[in-house]
């Protein structure tokens, strides 16, 4: 396991929604070039932790640090600008827009000169660059000016991941990226994660599909009832012990 400096860190984070305590004293370190698997049963607090990490929610207590600096995300956009990309379950793309329009959504390239200042788009450049960037992270999409609704489920997911990986400069959070995918497509997604790791990004991989978690991660963090109950190198787990830790049959 080759890991660099600490990239993204949460320290002693708690989150409650009214009287519901969703997270209690969670601390987590993500290193550059590291893939963390975040697992846990439904209601364990995975989604809440993802929301804190992606800037959708603010922690009730505790701090979030990026590159050793304390950060406070007021919106997911803040985190995005700082280099933390999140891929949400299913709903990250606008189906009627083309592949390249989705890749550049919210970060459009404009024409040169006055027209660009007036918000006119450099669509040809975006089509070309989107195609290049997706190829660079290992995703082959037929045509970047095709609308996303014309793609298969696997291709859509690939575009969503490709977008996140190509924009992320530091951290990428993938919430159930292999859901609803066939074995071959899931394999492609896992390959993209390996690519991101090679580029020195920190990856947080949330999944219910434990074989995928065991296959692609360096370290596994198990949440149960809002607390971290295990945080250990992936090599110390097998399918059985991981499942046991998630369900609480094994205390680690």
């Amino acid at each position: 396991m080759t890991t660099g400096k600490v990239l993204y860190e949460v320290k002693n984070v708690s989150k409650n929604y009214g009287s519901v305590q969703a997270l209690t004293g969670v601390s987590l370190k993500l290193h550059a070039g590291e893939v963390i698997g975040l697992v846990g049963d439904n209601g364990a607090g995975k989604s809440t932790l993802v929301k804190v990490l992606s800037g959708a929610h603010q922690p009730s207590e505790g701090v979030v640090e990026l590159d050793g600096e304390e950060r406070r995300w007021d919106s997911p956009h803040d985190a995005l600008v700082a280099g933390v990309e999140t891929l949400y379950q299913d709903s990250g793309l606008a189906p009627h827009l083309s592949v390249s329009s989705n890749v550049f959504l919210g970060r459009e390239k404009f024409s040169k000169g006055l027209l660009g200042k007036l918000g006119f788009l450099a669509q040809k450049d975006m089509d070309r660059i989107a195609h290049e960037n997706l190829e660079k992270v290992g995703i082959a999409v037929p045509q970047s000016n095709r609308s996303v609704s014309q793609l298969s489920g696997g291709q859509r997911q690939a575009v969503a991941i490709g977008r996140a990986v190509s924009w992320a400069s530091k951290v990428i959070i993938l919430d159930e990226p292999t859901n609803h995918l066939g074995a071959r497509q899931a394999g492609e997604v896992l390959a993209v994660i390996q690519q991101a790791k090679k580029r020195g990004l920190g990856v947080i991989f949330i999944s219910h599909t434990l074989p995928h978690v065991l296959q692609v991660t360096d370290r596994i963090v198990v949440l149960r009832l809002g607390k971290i109950v295990a945080d250990a190198p992936t090599s110390t787990f097998d399918a059985e012990s991981l499942l046991g830790t998630i369900t609480g049959l094994i205390e680690k």
Partner: protein, 343 residues
């Protein structure tokens, strides 16, 4: 081309299938009406059709932006009435005080735009801040606007404005009047913006998936506010157009305008569920609507048949959409509209 998004090429976006069908329908109508009454094929009649079309295309294009963004604007008709009436009051007062005609007309135009901004802002606040669904929010401003237009005028028309107004709506550019030329110009600019500008891109994105748009960092509420204000300002301009046409502010101007606007958008092939559609289709849709109206009168068909013909056109347009988007599996825009959540 069931999901036209980013104008791939100019020619394709103009004559994509849906547009081609609309043009065929238009030519067929012109041929039919000319066959029944040869007088139909004349500059005078085309001039009348374009005079009717000009305000309708304005509100239809505003409605197009709103519908693509995933909403609906029912207030455009009553915004025509209230802006026309308030502007007529102000122009009457200015004329009584011997303000020059050009200045009076200019201030009257600004009044219409101002009323448009006001109505659009109210719609935007109700939708983005009070989180009322667009249908209900614009239903309330529709009722309030129409009611106020009647109350302010006591139901009568407001005249005694600048005498010059009527001369402006004479067709002196072929079949088009000077205001008509301005409207064509405005529509052309909006067409380019929809296809090539960030404003259009965000409108499509929000209508397609507002969650994704927000996640990508687009300020969805601010953009929707702009869209609703645009729609109301275009309705205000239509109000001023009717003033020029009639030389009075009539509280009944624009009655049923919201339905004409929505009909033009739907006939033009735009899905009510949002996220897709072409502005050129809406322009043709408005032209088909106004051609039917004039044509039926020219061939002595009772005026109320117009509604039946328009209803058939809408039904056919929606069926074509439904078929295109699903290949006939029955999970298309109608189904989605019936089951969709509020945004």
């Amino acid at each position: 081309m069931s999901s036209p998004v980013v104008a791939p090429s100019r020619i394709k976006s103009l004559f994509g299938n849906q547009q081609f069908i609309l043009l065929l329908v238009l030519f067929a109508m012109v041929a039919f009406f000319t066959w029944r009454n040869p007088v139909f094929f004349s500059n005078a009649v085309f001039g009348n059709i374009l005079a009717d079309w000009s305000p309708v295309v304005l509100i239809a294009v505003g409605e197009f932006f709103v519908i693509v963004s995933g909403g609906i604007d029912l207030s455009v008709g009553s915004t025509i009435a209230i802006s026309g009436v308030v502007s007529a009051f102000s122009m009457r007062a200015l004329t009584a005080n011997h303000v020059g005609q050009n200045m009076t007309l200019f201030l009257g135009l600004l009044t219409c735009v101002g009323i448009g901004i006001l109505v659009g802002s109210i719609n935007a606040l109700l939708i983005t801040k009070a989180r009322i669904v667009p249908f209900i929010a614009t239903l309330t401003t529709m009722g309030a606007g129409a009611g106020m237009a009647i109350v302010l005028t006591g139901g009568s028309q407001i005249g005694d404005g600048p005498a010059k107004a009527i001369s402006l709506s004479v067709p002196d550019f072929g079949p088009l009047s000077r205001p008509g030329i301005v409207i064509v110009f405005i529509v052309a600019i909006l067409w380019v913006i929809m296809g090539k500008n960030r404003f259009g891109r965000y409108t499509y994105a929000i209508g397609s998936n507002s969650f994704a748009a927000r996640a990508a960092g687009i300020n969805v509420n601010r953009h929707l506010a702009k869209v609703y204000i645009l729609s109301s300002v275009l309705a205000g301009l239509a109000g001023f157009y009717y003033y020029l046409l009639l030389s009075v502010g009539a509280p009944t101007s624009g009655q049923g305008g919201e339905l004409q606007a929505i009909a033009a958008v739907v006939i033009g092939g735009t899905a009510l569920a949002g996220g897709t559609g072409k502005l050129s289709g809406t322009v043709l849709g408005a032209l088909i609507l106004t051609t039917v109206t004039s044509g039926l009168i020219m061939i002595n068909v009772a005026a109320n048949w117009k509604q039946v013909v328009v209803a058939i056109l809408i039904a056919v347009a929606v069926l074509i959409q439904e078929f295109r988007s699903t290949g006939g599996t029955g999970s298309g825009p109608i189904r989605r509209l019936l089951t969709r959540n509020s945004k």
